[in-house]
Each structure stands twice: as C-alpha cells, then as structure tokens.
C-alpha cells in the first residue's frame, strides 16, 4: 500500500487531530451536520475502519466498498450515537466489524462459502497483529495482551474477530465443545480488557 502525502500528514493513529480535537468532540459536531468535522473524523477513523474490514474480508476492492458504506453510515447515523454506551471509536469499529461479518455471511449463504473460507483460512496468528504498524505503542500493547491469553482463548477470540467465524465454526476448527468456545471468547475478552485497561465508557 502506497503511503501518500495525505496520510503522512495525518499519520495513523491520530488520537487527536490538529488543535487536540477528540473523536467525541468531532462526533458531536458531525451529529449537527458539520462536514468539516466529519472530514477530520474520517482522517482519524478511516485507517482503522479500512484496516479491520480488510483484515476480515481480505479482498481490497470489497474492503474499500464496505469502508465507504460504513463511513457514510457514520455520517448518517451520527445523530443516533449515544456517548453513554461507548466511545466513538468503539461505535464506529463495531459498525465496521458487523458490516464485514455481514458480508462474509451473505457470501456464505450465496454458496460462496469456499471463497470466504479461503479468505479467512490463513488464520490470524497474533503475530499478524503487528503486520501493519509495528512502531505504535497501542499495537505493542495489544500484542502483549494477546500473548498473555491461553492459546484456546486467543484462538477463539482471533478466529471470531479477525477470521469472521461464528462460534460454531470456531468450535469446529478448534475441535472443542460449543460451551467451551463461548466461555473462552468471554474470558479471553475479559482478560484482554483487564490487560488493556479499557472501560465501557
């Protein structure tokens, strides 16, 4: 992927924009129809949205298409964003992940299953987390925290999140009971939460 002047000017990840504008402040302005604020929000969020979607879908053209859908949806539904229920980043990335998963599942149901499986079968080892950006502290922290999980926790979480598999498919791949996989997804995320020091608000 070529790095353009534009993205150099706003290197990923930009937690605050010029003048220290946070995503929460930008969201409030976007909700009132401020397209300049949206442009700034785009610069902050698009790399995360695109990176996650591409991680799940693999196909660059599809990933661009879904990224566009998600970013337009952010604009359209910013009025419905409720800060009490999560950070803007979480809101936007949840939307991105769901759109990516919806795309995977709809391809599966249109019997394109083989393609979807092939796309996701290079299983997301946690090493791969650092593939895109290795210099960033946040990425190092995620990598460190993933390595602190048990193997089954880590695989359950990453196969679902990066691989786009349902818990039943994950159980099949890991040859484990459904109840075990559900539990490992939960306790794996709990351990990640504690390690990363994140809260719901």
């Amino acid at each position: 992927m070529s790095v353009t002047e534009e993205s150099m000017a706003l290197p990923w990840p930009v937690v605050t924009g010029p003048g220290g504008t946070t995503p929460a402040e930008l969201m409030a302005r976007v909700a009132r129809g401020d397209s300049d604020a949206f442009t700034q929000l785009y610069d902050q969020m698009a790399p995360r949205v695109f990176g996650l979607i591409r991680r799940v879908l693999r196909n660059p053209a599809q990933s661009e298409e879904v990224t566009q859908e998600v970013m337009v949806e952010v604009w359209r539904t910013a009025t419905r964003y409720d800060a009490d229920r999560g950070s803007p980043t979480s809101w936007i990335l949840t939307m991105a992940h769901r759109r990516a998963i919806d795309r995977v599942r709809s391809e599966q149901s249109s019997s394109d299953r083989e393609q979807a499986v092939a796309a996701a079968s290079t299983t997301p080892a946690y090493d791969e987390v650092s593939e895109a950006v290795t210099t960033n502290l946040e990425v190092e922290q995620v990598r460190h925290c993933l390595s602190a999980l048990t193997e089954l926790q880590r695989e359950s979480v990453t196969l679902a999140y990066y691989g786009g598999y349902s818990y039943r498919e994950v159980a099949e791949l890991l040859d484990a009971k459904l109840a075990t996989i559900k539990a490992r997804m939960r306790d794996g995320l709990i351990r990640l939460r504690d390690c990363l020091g994140v809260t719901g608000k």
């Binding site: 539904t77 809101w91 895109a132 939460r193």
Partner: protein, 243 residues
Amino acid sequence: MTTPDVHMLTGPYVLNALPEDERIGFEAHLADCSSCSAEVAELREAATKLGTAVAVPPPPALKARVLAEIATTRQLPPLVRDPEPRPVDELAQRRYSRRSVFGLAAAALAVAGAGGIAVDQYRDNQRTERQNEQLAALLSQPDAKTARGEVAGGGQATVVMSAGQDRAIVLLHGLAKLPDGKTYQLWLQDRSEAMHSAGIAGPDDTKLIQGGITDKIALGITVENTPGVPAPTQAPAALVPMV
C-alpha cells in the same frame, strides 16, 4: 432466553460470532440485564483495540468518494426517547377486518431487508430501522416467545411472537434464491391444520404479521409458482411450531 449460560454469550456477541437467531435472543436478554449491558460495553472496547491494531491507511481516492456521498446524504433525525410501547395501529386493524377476504395477507406489512433490533445502537441503518423498532417493541412484551426452524434448501426461519399483542415478526435468513416466477409464501396453520396466507417473502426478509396469531400453531413456508395463492399448492419447505 433462559439457559444458564446466557451470560457467557457476551463474548461471542461482542465478537459478532452469534448466528442471527441467537443474536436476537441475546439482545432481548440484554435489554433486561444491566450487568450484561455493562459487560458488553467493556468487552466491546477491548475488541475495538483488536480492530485498531490492524489499521492500514485506505487508498486516498476513497476519501473523496466518501465526502462526495455524504454531501448528498441526509442525516437521520435523532431518536426521541419514548419508553412506552407503540399502540397497535388501529387503522391497520380496521383495514384488516374489512378486507378479511384477503386474510392475513392484507395485514402482513412488507418490511424490506434483514432483521435486527434497536436495543443495540450499532445496528441502526436505513433498511432495518423500522423493523428494529417493531421487533424491539414485540420482544419487550412479557409474553414474547421465539421459535425457529430450518428451511428445506437452506436457511432459517425465526418467529418472534406475542399472543397479548396478537403480533408476530418472521425473520427469514439465508434462504435459497428462487428462480424467476417462484416466490416464498408464508402461512399460519390453525388447529384444524388449515393454512392461512401471511403474505409473500424474499429469501432474506422480515415480515410483520399483525392479528390472527393467537389461535395459530405453526408458521409454514412454501415455494409457490404464483405469488399470493389462497392455499398452499406445495408441501411446506418449513413448518415452525409456534406453541
């Protein structure tokens, strides 16, 4: 959903690893379980970090396309909070009884798109908003029940119903696409095993059925050659028990 491990589902839910019907069931539970909602919010922030960790700059041309599209896209009005369940649309009910010759087909409101639910703000989008509200209102009923079944040829049918409201919502997910001229038709089976049409449906569709629910025992789905036939001409591709 009352299974003992329902709280375990916060993990798969946050990872979007639940099949559609289990997601709907869990979201119904989420609406009443404040500790689950708090856990979902926290775990979601943790999952978000996994997403952030794989960030890659998108192609620059994408930005211009997005900005051009938002310039011509109207934003949704904000939600005005209204905790009261919406009253049953009396006009629609009256219309239903007047046109009883069409049976339930007249009362089945076509709602486009796949199912979702409004208890989760992340699911909002144009296609699903309306049925989300309807589904949320239905699921919030104390007597709400959910039943599901497999459809021959692939896919699932989920029925969410409330006898008190005399309403049901049918969610079809992943049914086989049909050749031109053929269509899925929904039926409600009564105790004498007679089938009453509840309208036609697409392979991924959500249908609201208003009225005529309480005395029915099953939802049937057939593949018909003529849309809207008065009685099934084919064996059901699915028969989901509602009692």
